[in-house]
């Protein structure tokens, strides 16, 4: 029997071993992005919508009409038209996942600009830096400065989660898993001016200033920004909530803050109403200490609130499952976590090489992990991370490979 409890709903119940799920983002349809920006949509981009709509049985006539109309009238979309485009993209993503054999689905974050910005722009107390900040190769992001205690803007919960979740919950035939940002990730991606200034007044030691400033910031974000989203989603019927923490091992001495932040989000949410998982990626495999990768999370994560039951892990990128998972087996007696096994490498390098995992490779990875963890019921199957940087065609193929590999693994 798999570890997860199917939430009480009319959606498709999951009973098999190695259930599959998506992690978060998918690329947005170019035609939708261009139409919203008021740019010309190419014939190929329009055809892509028609083809996908047909393949996944999603009605596209209205969307095609919006694209044609706004182009003819040389104007930007209205807010209602924008919503229709987003709804179409979200529904298409849900159907793509369901048809590809994914058990727990979401909308590919079709309404979110990107994970940090989506939240940061709804925060009072954040001010934007004037320029986009380069982060990864040529990729950049809009960074915010925290200038006072962060609070949600009026109506932010509707934009951040209520409308999005209500749509997914209404449309999805499979079970739903809701991805949300964790507070620590927002803290490390922002410029923490407000809490740093406060810490400088209280402490002299530089390391302590940095630690306390980040801790206070993370806890404020947990309480004021993330927890209200969780409560709003749970109130609408969300059951499985995934908190995304790509930066968990970024600052090795600060991992206790990650745990405190998560606990502040989760504590007090009734256990029968919600179930939490954490998504980790970029584990520091070269940590400059004797521990590395997911080992760095221990023993700190043993202090996580017991509503946190599952970790989704980036693993395929390194393909060192035995090494990466050993620590979970080692601490099994103290605390057992379900594992969302990253079996699909989602890096751009693989896309450039035009190579894919095979279903047999996926199967082998699942069984290797099962050997280490000694409990098949703990294992879920997932991509390494969200896939917004890849082409949609590649994402679809990767979902299919993942589901085929999981099916092979179920057979042994």
């Amino acid at each position: 029997m798999v570890q997860i409890i199917n939430p009480p709903s009319a959606k498709k119940t999951v009973r098999h071993l190695f259930p599959t799920y998506e992690v978060g983002s998918l690329p947005k349809l170019p035609a939708r992005v261009k139409t919203i920006k008021g740019e010309k949509v190419s014939a190929e981009e329009l055809q892509q919508i028609k083809n996908l709509a047909k393949k996944y049985a999603v009605e596209s006539a209205e969307v095609e009409e919006i694209i044609g109309r706004t182009e003819r009238e040389k104007r930007k979309v209205s807010s209602e038209e924008k919503k229709q485009l987003q709804d179409f993209n979200a529904l298409l993503n849900i159907r793509i996942q369901e048809k590809s054999g994914i058990d727990f689905v979401y909308d590919g974050e079709a309404r979110r600009s990107e994970m940090y910005r989506h939240v940061a722009q709804q925060v009072v107390g954040f001010e934007d830096l004037p320029e986009m900040i380069r982060s990864r190769g040529p990729d950049s992001y809009k960074k915010s400065i925290c200038i006072t205690e962060p609070q949600l803007k009026s109506g932010a919960l509707d934009t951040l989660i209520r409308e999005e979740f209500a749509f997914v919950n209404q449309q999805a035939q499979h079970q739903v898993k809701v991805p949300l940002d964790d507070p620590y990730m927002i803290a490390v991606m922002s410029d923490n001016r407000y809490y740093a200034q406060q810490a400088k007044e209280k402490y002299i030691d530089q390391q302590q200033i940095r630690y306390e400033a980040k801790r206070e910031f993370t806890l404020a974000l947990a309480k004021n920004i993330i927890r209200p989203q969780v409560e709003a989603a749970v109130a609408l019927g969300a059951y499985w909530i995934q908190l995304d923490i790509p930066a968990a091992t970024l600052d090795i001495g600060h991992i206790p803050i990650v745990v405190e932040g998560i606990n502040a989000v989760v504590e007090g949410i009734p256990a029968e109403n919600a179930w939490f998982s954490l998504h980790f990626c970029y584990p520091r495999r070269n940590s400059l200490t004797e521990k590395s990768g997911y080992e760095l999370l221990f023993p700190h994560v043993l202090k996580l609130n017991h509503r946190v039951k599952h970790f989704s892990l980036e693993l395929a990128n390194a393909d060192t499952y035995e090494q990466d998972l050993a620590v979970f087996a080692e601490y099994k007696k103290e605390r057992q976590f379900g594992i969302g096994l990253g079996v699909i490498d989602i890096t751009l390098e693989r896309q450039k090489e035009e190579t894919y995992e095979t279903p047999q490779q996926v199967r082998e990875r699942i069984l290797r992990a099962a050997d280490v963890l000694k409990d098949r019921t703990l294992i879920y199957v997932a991509p390494d991370c969200g896939m917004r940087q890849l082409t949609l065609e590649r994402c679809i193929r990767l979902y299919e490979l993942m589901a085929e590999g999981a099916e092979l693994a179920r057979k042994g």
Partner: protein, 335 residues
């Protein structure tokens, strides 16, 4: 005492790493990435911004001028792209920043000591030729520890080759006009802060700096950042470089003040490049006077602790203004 007072009448300032990108550069990069623009347009914007930032450094009275390195994504990219036998591995976080680098993969033994590999990221024609160009290279020890090495039997033989490779490039840059070579060395102080530093680490760094620490016609700096340098200062001061850089946002002032720097130049990275919070020049002057009076550095420099790129173009300029104002106040009060 009189001689010391004369020595300390001057505070020097400069930048120590890549400058924040402009919004225009972001926009053309983004267009190129999406196939709507060209790399040639990106190159032109880089040229334009480089000219602007070099000129701004000169106008602000910076004593050394850096290339803002707008075309370089991480410290190791020139090596990875230009040195046979080294290529790009996995993407990893650059220490505790939301910034990434590609792990160098060194797969052959006996690297050729080629040079000129960093040149395509630089603009020597725009940089000063009077010895005030400060060029930045990875310290061999940091390069060794952050690389994936499969071609060498042990770290000692690998670091010797890496140090020779880096030195060859330093000599090449000196021939192009660089008057200062800054070796970026975050790993040693980060390991110290994490409590994972071993004797072997110190020996490897020492081996490397023995090889590349002296470069004819330049001054050399071992520039540490992202960690507390204080416990390592007795060791670091003995390395054969002209100048030692410490991260003043990670290293407490009190232990620093216990150290004598009369044989070394001291680069005090007290401007926090990773925060938009503006430092108060008057408070900086108070701290710098303590450093000058108690550490007796051969020369004293105020710099950002690291690259100003993480908070963008506008804030990089603001931090440069703070350098300028602090220099004015310090040198004014001392004169």
């Amino acid at each position: 005492m009189h001689a010391f007072t004369l020595y300390m009448t001057h505070l020097g300032i400069y930048l120590t790493g890549p400058f924040g990108q402009s919004q225009q550069l972001y926009e053309v990069r983004n267009e190129a990435k999406r196939g709507r623009g060209t790399e040639e347009v990106v190159r032109q914007q880089i040229e334009k911004d480089t000219e602007t930032v070099i000129k701004a450094q000169q106008e602000a009275g910076l004593d050394f001028i850096i290339d803002p390195l707008f075309g370089q994504y991480d410290l190791f990219q020139p090596l990875v792209e230009g040195v046979p036998g080294i290529n790009a591995g996995r993407q990893e976080n650059w220490f505790n920043n939301n910034l990434f680098y590609q792990k160098p993969r060194i797969q052959i033994e006996n690297l050729q000591y080629t040079s000129g590999w960093s040149e395509k990221f630089l603009h020597p024609e725009s940089l000063p030729k009077d010895g005030s160009w400060s060029a930045i290279l990875p310290s061999p020890y940091t390069l060794l520890i952050l690389s994936e090495i499969s071609g060498y039997q042990n770290k000692k033989s690998a670091i010797q080759d890496l140090a020779k490779l880096i030195k060859a490039e330093a000599i090449h840059l000196a021939s192009l006009g660089a008057g200062r070579i800054q070796y970026d060395e975050p790993v040693i102080v980060v390991k110290q802060s994490l409590g994972s530093l071993k004797r072997e680490d110190l020996e490897l760094l020492e081996t490397a700096i023995d090889i590349c620490g002296r470069v004819p016609d330049t001054t050399t700096v071992l520039h540490t950042y992202f960690g507390d340098a204080a416990p390592l200062l007795p060791f670091l001061k003995n390395l054969p470089v002209d100048c030692l850089g410490i991260d003043g946002t990670e290293t407490n002032l009190e232990p620093l003040l216990q150290e004598d720097f009369s044989e070394k130049e001291l680069v005090f990275g007290r401007i926090n490049a990773r925060s938009t919070d503006p430092e108060d020049p008057e408070e900086l002057v108070t701290e710098l006077k303590k450093v000058a009076e108690q550490c007796h550095p051969k020369k004293l420099w105020l710099t950002p602790n690291t690259a100003t790129e993480v908070d963008g173009y506008t804030h990089a300029f603001k931090k440069m203004k703070i350098l300028q104002e602090t220099k004015r106040l310090f040198n004014g009060t001392n004169n």
